[in-house]
């Protein structure tokens, strides 16, 4: 299975990529997606995660075809 990974804002700059792809034999947690996509970089404390554009916790499971996103606290408005 393949998972699309996206990074935004300061996290995109820190990780050095905007988008990545992660392959796995079985469903894996969002935290594992991060580890695989960033070659085990430490995840900054206040990182927010989303699966298919819905906020989730890091232990949520991602499935084949999912889009997983990581980003810093939002600062719109």
């Amino acid at each position: 299975m393949t998972i699309t990974v996206k990074f935004f804002a300061s996290l995109r700059e820190r990780v050095g990529q905007a988008e990545a792809s992660v392959s796995s034999a079985e469903p894996i947690s969002v935290d594992q997606v991060w580890a695989q996509a960033t070659s085990n970089m430490a995840m900054p404390d206040n990182t927010l995660c989303a699966i298919n554009m819905q906020y989730v916790d890091g232990n949520q499971q991602a499935n084949d075809g999912d889009e997983v996103a990581f980003f810093p606290p939002v600062t719109g408005g």
């Binding site: 804002a9 980003f71 810093p72 939002v74 600062t75 719109g76 408005g77």
Partner: protein, 144 residues
């Protein structure tokens, strides 16, 4: 009920008027509460020359719609509008507009504020400031 992402400068007062003329029946609403956030040319004591607003296309629209829908469930409102700017923004440019129409004022005031607070805490936008010395990401929003 609408939410719009603009990549160019927008006039919030015109946006309200246009939406109102297109969607609100004359003589039926009694209260219109609105909020406009405008870019200041300084922040935390530093001069800001340009602000760049990044967002997560798709998720942004979905959360703005969700926030409008929640406001509609919590208060007796007739309609609401959110407009948010993205891209490169100049000082004095409007960044965000929230506007609510209702029969009576309490619902309009409260729902309008709700839209702003929820937008600030959940909608995936990020601000980057260009200062004379370089760039910096805004780390967190001011308290509401």
């Amino acid at each position: 009920m609408a939410s719009e992402i603009h990549t160019q400068a927008f006039d919030p007062w015109q946006a309200i008027q246009h939406y109102q003329q297109a969607h609100m029946a004359a003589g039926k609403y009694g209260a219109t509460a609105s909020f406009v956030g405008t870019m200041r040319d300084f922040n935390e004591g530093d001069e800001v020359q340009v602000m760049t607003l990044e967002h997560y296309p798709g998720m942004t629209e979905s959360y703005l719609d969700k926030i409008c829908e929640e406001a509609r469930q919590r208060w007796d409102i007739m309609d609401c509008l959110i407009v948010h700017r993205v891209g490169d923004i100049q000082p004095n440019d409007p960044i965000v507009l929230t506007c609510v129409w209702s029969a009576h004022r309490a619902a309009a005031f409260e729902a309008c504020r709700y839209l702003m607070e929820e937008l600030k805490s959940r909608a995936p936008f990020w601000k980057k400031e260009t200062l004379p010395e370089g760039h910096r990401w805004v780390e967190k929003n001011t308290e509401g």
